[in-house]
Amino acid sequence: MSVTIYVPRDASALSLGAESVAQALAREIEKRRLDATIVRNGSRGMFWLEPLVEVETGEGRIAYGPVKASDVPGLLDAGLLQGGAHALRLGPTEEIPYLRNQQRLTFARVGVIDPTSVASYVAHGGFQGLRNALSMTPEQIVQAVIDSGLRGRGGAAFPTGIKWKTVLEQKATQKYIACNADEGDSGTFSDRMLMEGDPLSLIEGMTIAGLAVGATQGYIYLRVEYPHAHRALKEAIAAAREARYLGRDILGSGRHFDIEVRLGAGAYVCGEETSMLESLEGRRGEVRVRPPLPAVKGLFGQPTVVNNVVTLGTVPTILHKGAKFYQDFGVGRSRGTLPIQLAGNIRRGGLVERAFGVTLRELLYDYGGGSATGRPIRAVQVGGPLGAYIPESQFDVKVDYEALAEIGALLGHGGIVAFDDTVNMARMARYAMEFCALESCGKCTPCRIGSTRGVEVIDRIIAGRERERNLRQLEKLCETMLHGSLCGLGGMTPYPVQSAMRHFPEDFRAPVK
């Protein structure tokens, strides 16, 4: 029987040479006339081990990594196809502690299946949620999502089922499902990994959302920086249509739903939902004043569900395993699991899906293994460029929405970026302002002008000019932005700036070089 070898096609794995590994394997298999098939899977999310090659054996999948193309002949000599001993052998993939100590629900199939294959998806529980949903009323689907406790994973953490209920209650001939795949936050890549590694779960989730609220058309607003995800989505959509899981008369049910992918164009603010809708309509991504909510008057003026990739990709699990199953994970009002992304200066960067409640310290040290440079971790930014910086003294905080809010931080899309002790926090504060100035949609003055002023003021502080006065000025600017901005870009840029000033005051008073 042909042996299956897995070599990821995930963009991060490719960035570390997975393509040349796959090619070298294909060449050697041909040359040695071996009976083996290469499957291009997603990534398991252990990026220090990528390119991670896996072999299907009688004892399950055995992992090798990180593999270089030049390792391939030696690996085959060592009996790769039988899971043979080699310096790069990591043992059974699922026994690697980083992976074994996770609770993968949304990411259960990522890195496991062939993302382009409907059969592979179905063999791993795919489309069970959709099948269940097809036998339920819209109200029942919405209720299941409400009962699961699922909150939006894009950043704002709004209860997903409640949003769907609003859209369901609207009377309109056309409604839309708009998936937010703009993933602009530095330190985040869970949307990307899911779209590349298990795109059918997103398609299934969107289709269920369509059945729930009565929408027949979905759009995926994908950032242009993700060409690999684009390719994966297009292939998956075509495969799903071909197999009648998408399009007209889904599985003979008489229900219709289809999906189109639209590309963004490198504007961070277009991740904000109303800006995204403007962009989807082909306009400048200027933020809309709310109300009306997108749920009432969204895309092309119609009731629209806007949800993040991970939110929608989690829905099939809820409809398959039940609301109770999902909501049994987690703590307090943070139910279920969260795919956390460990990024930046971290030894073992990657994706950790756990029930809410794990501490930052566990993530940084038990999973992450400390900094990549071997120096002390001095600060972490949680929740992207609008998230607060957290000092070491607060690393015992639990990673859930409420616990982070209590210390003036936020979870956002679950990205954690680590910095070692060489970081200059005044410079990071400056960068936050610079980024806001660069990405502001221009609609409100505090954001547009305030951020530019913020850069100037921080420059003066760094240069040692009238420090106390300028520090007070910076505080005032932050307050103005916090209270006078229409959306989170202007309204939350003060979080990284103020947290940097609060926790690392010495960096704003350092001797001038």
């Binding site: 963009a11 330190g187 920086e225 490198g266 504007a267 309509e281 990024a343 970026v417 960068y431």
Partner: protein, 159 residues
Amino acid sequence: MKALDPTQRETVNRIIAQHKDRPGPLLEVLHGVQDALGYVPADAVPLIADGLNLSRAEVHGVVTFYHHFRHAPPGRHVVQLCRAEACQSMGAEGLAAHAKKRLGVDFHQTTADGKFTLEPVFCLGNCACSPAAMIDGELYGRVTPERFDELVKEWEGRP
């Protein structure tokens, strides 16, 4: 700024025709034009405006809003360096300084030999393998200055 040559006009018109009956087509058209021509020429704006029944100001406003759309032809290869936080934590600033020196250009500029255009980008979703770079859509991780020089050598030889 050169006027559009007949084949470019033809290309722009073909792309407009392809998308104009779809809902909210402007961004799709602009992507199509940039993918085909490498940038969105100023002379394409009136064509697009007419084709989609929009004002020129509207089209111009959209082209200039988005960082992705270029106003001048790029070099043969586009090198994007990530400048966002995770990459900064792993030395992206030093890498950017090195890249500028190696290529002899600043961000948004093209090398004298027309081979490379250097652009900043804010996150490529490769934040666990920082610093990250992308060349013509191919992603690279853990890009040290030495690795950057290797990549430049490799891409110099490509068409």
